[in-house]
Symmetry: C2
Subunit: 605 residues, 2 copies
Amino acid sequence: MTITFLPSGVQTEVSSHETLLRAAERAGVLIDAACGGALKCGKCKVRIFAGSCSPLTDAERQLLTPTEIELGFRLACCTTAEGDLEIVVPDSHGGSTRKKSMAQLPEDLVFAPAVNLRSVTVPRATMEHQVDSLNRLRATLELPQLTVAPAVLPDLQQALDAKRGKVTAVLRGEELLTLLSGEERACYGVSFDIGTTTVVGTLWDLTDGKALASAARTNDQSVFGADVISRIQFSLAEAGNLTLLQKKVLFTLNSILTELCLAADLSPRSIYDVTVVGNTTMSHLFLGVSPKPMSRTPFAPAFTEAQTLSAAELGLSVHPRAAVHLLPNIAGHVGSDITAMMLAAGIEKRSGNHVAIDIGTNGEVVAVRNGELVCCSTAAGPAFEGACIRSGMRAAPGAIERVDMADGDITIAVIDDAAPLGLCGSGLIDAIAALLQCGALLPSGRLLTKEEAADLPPCIAARITEADSAPAFRLAEGADGVPILLTQQDIREVQLAKGAILAGIRTLLHELGISEDELDSVLLAGAFGNYIRRESALAIGLLPTVPVEKIIPIGNAAGAGASMALLSLPQRQRADRLSRMVRHVELSIHPVFQDLYIDAMQFGG
Amino acid sequence: MTITFLPSGVQTEVSSHETLLRAAERAGVLIDAACGGALKCGKCKVRIFAGSCSPLTDAERQLLTPTEIELGFRLACCTTAEGDLEIVVPDSHGGSTRKKSMAQLPEDLVFAPAVNLRSVTVPRATMEHQVDSLNRLRATLELPQLTVAPAVLPDLQQALDAKRGKVTAVLRGEELLTLLSGEERACYGVSFDIGTTTVVGTLWDLTDGKALASAARTNDQSVFGADVISRIQFSLAEAGNLTLLQKKVLFTLNSILTELCLAADLSPRSIYDVTVVGNTTMSHLFLGVSPKPMSRTPFAPAFTEAQTLSAAELGLSVHPRAAVHLLPNIAGHVGSDITAMMLAAGIEKRSGNHVAIDIGTNGEVVAVRNGELVCCSTAAGPAFEGACIRSGMRAAPGAIERVDMADGDITIAVIDDAAPLGLCGSGLIDAIAALLQCGALLPSGRLLTKEEAADLPPCIAARITEADSAPAFRLAEGADGVPILLTQQDIREVQLAKGAILAGIRTLLHELGISEDELDSVLLAGAFGNYIRRESALAIGLLPTVPVEKIIPIGNAAGAGASMALLSLPQRQRADRLSRMVRHVELSIHPVFQDLYIDAMQFGG
């Protein structure tokens, strides 16, 4: 039986046992499955276009709306083919568009990349002085200590023979990476930010430090679960899964590399340096190291320090001898993305008291008091990325990104002005802030029932409905005729997430002995930080109570830090220093955390 | 069409275009072809057992005797199949048995291998001290500077998990090669001597320095020519040939590794260290570097210094992270085998004046005067290994190894007392010495004709016959009914070879300002040095005129040096020092060499 995935037209053969989700995974078609196929999240919706498939399951009856079922939607994790099948994979699967923006680097960054080119002409040997090629090259470059790996020697001999000794040395410090014949000028590097959800790559010209292109793709591991815990569980479930996860993320990186090389019209062989950041689990999976320690106390990872290996060893499609440098992690749940955030935020150089927060799939916090650094990870979960939220979706076209109160009703703004398909993180926070404002939601987190809402403005009251035997709020009519709801369960998810983050921040402030009043700034990193409405974040109590102007989005700080480490060797050393300087605070055994957590789950400032 | 090679029974499919030599090469069946298939050497004899093949060529009519033709012998390089074919590959193809003897190492060798094992128990992390696995291992080993390649991290995490932290670290200095679970004791190393003709490997226990097994195989590159020049020519003939030659020698090494592991009953994964020596061309081919510079003036190689790379990178079947250490070469035609010879001979430590000679496929000479070292390579050619000699063969069963004058006739001794098949190097020198002694051969190198020999003892005179319109001497009736001859042409080949070696020695003595009388010893390295009769070598004038007791065979010095470097790190440093200390003398532009050469071609002391 053949499955055809539309609109891409990719085809694959399946047996009657294989679910559409697994078949898609095998065929390289990306279908989001936040729960990793555990029949829980209802995200892996596909629409049957032609052909017959297995009957509707109970799980699908619970997770799909009657309209969706009528329109032919199925969950890919529950459905098998019963003959040739054509299925439509909705647009909402796949990459977020928001992460593509180029990283902003500090203006005073010292440009000092690891790799440099030098073109020289190496004289020939003579009968009287039969100096070998390698030592003639050393003498010409005036680098008597030049190291050359044995694997470079074939290139060396060939390059010297090709153009009468005119060569270009590709140098990493005093190491010869390769020798090219003639005069070459192409020398590039790529920085990667491996998110649990999205991987972003930026291509840089290493001769002048200019950014050439940027590309983002959903992490191809996503078919095995939305968060790090489901990835870890998958890695432990069966022999071979760990390798599979490593292959998936390498596939994502290689796809991004293809896109970058196409965009900038250059050969992947002229990419000689790569930097990578990611959370600790992503870092482990990237190197094929079991992330098991991150799933159990005491969360001590296999390694934290920076790692450098060759692209060939890893299987990355750049010059085989390019070095791939993974920045240092800090703890089991505080990864090199946070090291990179500290780099980009210049955190240790700021005077006064500051908090930097990265709300990605997890929520990590760094606090600083005049150079003293502490950090923690909070079990925020992926609620703000749309997982576990009934109508949640990524910040892609069709996502509601703004919700406002106006004239006694709510108004929405949708990414790309498209017909609304769901709710992304910034819209979710806005929506809760709006519901708090109009009184439909109590600070305790309880949504009013239709009866209780009788005193609210009629347009608001009319939006209150019910889902899963609990109150729900109708934000909009969906593009496909399915109403976009915010349910009581959704609100509970947000409470747990925002409570964890706020309690984490407060625990760190307690560690440093400072109060919220004494904060000079709250730095928001990540795509989320750029798009969140600060007032709404304050209104729901996601952030410490500070004047709104002290909340400063700092953009894709992880990506910026990875790029800084690519363009400037001193920044790599700074990253190593920062990762050792910052003290990790384990919240789960911290004496004040539990009390702070319960308190922080209340909505409101 | 199928070809079956007997006695091995190996089969392969062939087209009507492919010669038997190429088919054998493809099938991994070793047929010696000194000229590399250039229709010149006549060594690639096979016997057609059943089936039909292409008609006899002119080349075969010239290179095979009528009896051989009658018996069904053909040259594999000239013959193609015309249907299914069974052919017998004679015993004389394949490995020499003489190189298998274990290397003798100096008794005062300091045992200090590069790789060591250490078994420890690594404590678990705690919630209070979430130290990563790598740093807990460092602390337990008390090696704070321990380096660990990223590729080792997966093993590290797995080994720590398997047996409650009980692990064995495989250490190369302060580098973790790998981490094994539990307590392990298996730690081995192999030293290789890559000869142009024969490769010898010796397996050592790196925990106690004991030799466990030794194995020799004909270098699988041999099908592409007997000497370094034909290998170089083959490497340049077509793209891909260089890689093919590298694959061939790696195949030989891997075959030897299999044999060694079988003999000692151990896993190739417990081999953690490898040392390699070989001439400069073999060193280049081993690393896949073009040996082109060795074929043209000024013979400046791509590299000379020692090279270390990982087994995985190279494709050697030992532990993938084992280091393969190639000892330093000295010049284009003085390789790391000569560095190893100097190591084994303790050459720089000897007081007085000495000469060390390695007569392999080439002839390299080192001379020393109270610690001052000079070396040269002589274009001796492979005559003493049996190539270019009509009845020449390797030192294998059936080879005439001794020739004596007794009772007015010559007597012969054959290896393994087999029926004679040909003449090996020691027999060749003996034979010439015997002919000089009885007067059948003049010091100028001319064989008497039958007429001129009338005055010689009748048994001797009766042996004089004719070949290629020139005198020839019948040494024996061959096992196959073909007489074993020493031809005028053979004698000219020996003259050129021995003249080159003697003139090389004399040039070095000239460089050092010493006379032959002042020599304290003449050290003979290599299998040949062990089996040559010193009196005969003096009689024909292969060596300087010294009392016979000053000629000292030192065995397989190249192999011994490779083993010393495996077992003792200080010896590797000594090898590096020796390779820089020794001054290379280029004979072809040396002012006295030509005169000395013409003089040295005369037979006699």
